[in-house]
Amino acid sequence: MKNVELLVIGGGPAGLCAAISAAEAGVDVLLAERDEWLGGQLVKQTHMFFGSEKQHASVRGVDIGKLLVKKVEEYKNVEVMKNATVLGLYEDRVVTIQQDGNYVKVNPKSVIITTGASEKTLVFPNNDLPGVYGAGAVQTLMNVYGVKPGNKVLMVGAGNIGLIVSYQLMQAGVDVEAIVDASPNIGGYLVHASKIRRMGVPILTRHTVKEAIGKEALEAAVIWELDDKWQPIPGSEQKLDVDVMCISVGLTPLSELLWQIGCKMEFVGELGGFVPTRSDKLQTSLDGIFVAGDVAGVEEASSAMVEGSLAGLSASSYLGYKIDVVKELERDYLNQLNDLRSGPVGEKIRQGLAKALISEQAANPGQGS
């Protein structure tokens, strides 16, 4: 069994920042990543990020990923395990990992869980036809493996992922026939919507998929309009000849490990599903178990990075590392998070967090007084 001070599970934006911030404080970190490479979803994000300079605004996501990976690799006190899937995390705090077909046991003093989120899907007739994908899968095909997913696409969902993947499909020379969304309004940033719309792609709000058509693979999709009670309007059907349908109807936290170890979980729709209750400094209901990024509540990558840095700091303090500037850093991270969430687009997140937040005292009963 391998003894480590801190295990960070997941090498995406939150996990990388968590590892960096803990390593900076002097903690010995083991970072376990399921993929063959670090970076998580950042590796596919070819668009420029929003936010401010502190979160690398206006730099492309893929380049932010490279910056963070380079930083992680510079720390001698960070060990990276790639191709390493964490299988179990139990009450005795022993973590089991499958790496390259081998079974590894790790005994960490503290854990930061940054496993991210998975895509939600939709139910409609023939939704199992080849050609019906999650939008994230299409982005992986295109931007990681360089495979064109098809020629004509229907995007289902006008949130930021639906809009961004549509834009990237268009950049790859794939025709996007339409973007539909059941909501009355576009959910993603309107600047993303505008840059797609001006290339001639229609965005149809209050529309959804009725069915997919095809024998061996997707040949067409039927969409229809919804009334203001979200009910389909018969007769409003339109058939679109598409060979790819991307489902982009939101993400849900990948929280299996949190359930396993027994963190207190709360269903918070605004954050994408069941999330762990946590203190503002990201400790869960269990001593020494921290969370950051989408697994703590689905948000933008910018806040995932800041949360990662904050969780890294919290874990360092938990492990007894004293940093002079800890208060300053904490305040800075909390301010950054507050800035990113304070506007109208952050309203949902704020409402969700209010439900998931517990006071530090309640989160950490063992350490009070």
Partner: protein, 261 residues
């Protein structure tokens, strides 16, 4: 409207433009950012206080058109590609419109391409004046277009014909599937002899031994490098390839041995 279709209203667009008086003075920025999101690189990019400091990062950009000189630094920095530059003083009847454009193929300077509206509708043909794509723009090229003055509030994109590159479909070497485009690319990158092209692309190394391709390749080298085709060597000839049963070779050898006895 904007939140349902992605197309801003006329009022929103008008609000992004300065006074008539300012417009007459030279280039200025048009920031079509109408939703409060946590984002401020336009402010960071500007070094002449043309975009005021953000009190809250979710604020809409506050443009000071008196300080802005239309320098275009912010255009490629805006993650939402929502910033444009307009110069009404460009010529008697045309205005210069600069747009961010992240699609391939890029237009060429001098091209006439279709200008598209906020909604993607065709507006008018516009001339491409300049294509800027320096490293600092980090893959967000800025295209300068000469547009009719009354279309500066209308045109926001362009439709560049996906030139059907014929040379991708034209096969020079049928044995190894080498296209004309690949051959041309090799010649353009300095491989100007048949042997070099053969060793890189496997052209002429298939069953036909270069009978189909060698003359075609020589012709392309000649036309791109401006040499006389008769001065170009056809490359090294190797043994002719022909399938032959091993037994026949042995038979022949045995026969030869017997004859030599």
């Amino acid at each position: 409207m904007l939140e349902k279709t992605g197309v801003p209203t006329k009022e929103q667009i008008d609000s992004a433009f300065p006074s008539e008086e300012r417009m007459k003075k030279g280039p200025f920025v048009v920031v079509e950012c109408f939703q409060k999101i946590p984002c401020n690189p336009c402010f960071t990019a500007c070094n002449r206080d043309g975009i005021k400091a953000f009190e809250d990062i979710n604020d809409l950009p506050d443009v000071d058109h008196d300080n802005c000189n239309g320098c275009t630094l912010c255009v490629s920095k805006c993650p939402g590609l929502a910033i444009f530059v307009v110069d009404m003083t460009y010529s008697e009847d045309k205005a210069l419109l600069k747009i961010p454009y992240e699609f391939l193929p890029l237009p060429q300077e001098g091209d006439r391409v279709m200008g598209l509206s906020h909604g993607g509708e065709e507006v008018e043909k516009v001339e491409v004046i300049k294509v800027q794509n320096p490293k600092g723009f980090d893959k967000t090229p800025v295209i300068s277009l000469a547009v009719s003055k009354d279309k500066v509030k209308v045109i926001r994109s362009i439709k560049v014909p996906k030139e059907r590159d014929r040379s991708e479909d034209e096969i020079v070497c049928r044995c190894s599937d080498v296209t004309l485009e690949e051959v041309r690319e090799l010649i353009r990158t300095g491989h100007t002899t048949f042997d070099e092209i053969k060793k890189i692309s496997r052209i002429g190394m298939g069953p036909c031994q270069g009978r189909t391709c060698s003359q075609l390749v020589i012709r392309e080298i000649a036309s791109i490098t401006g040499q006389d085709p008769s001065s170009l060597l056809p490359g090294t000839y190797r043994q002719i390839v022909k399938s032959l049963e091993m037994g026949k070779v042995i038979e022949a050898l045995e026969k030869e041995e017997q004859e030599n006895k």
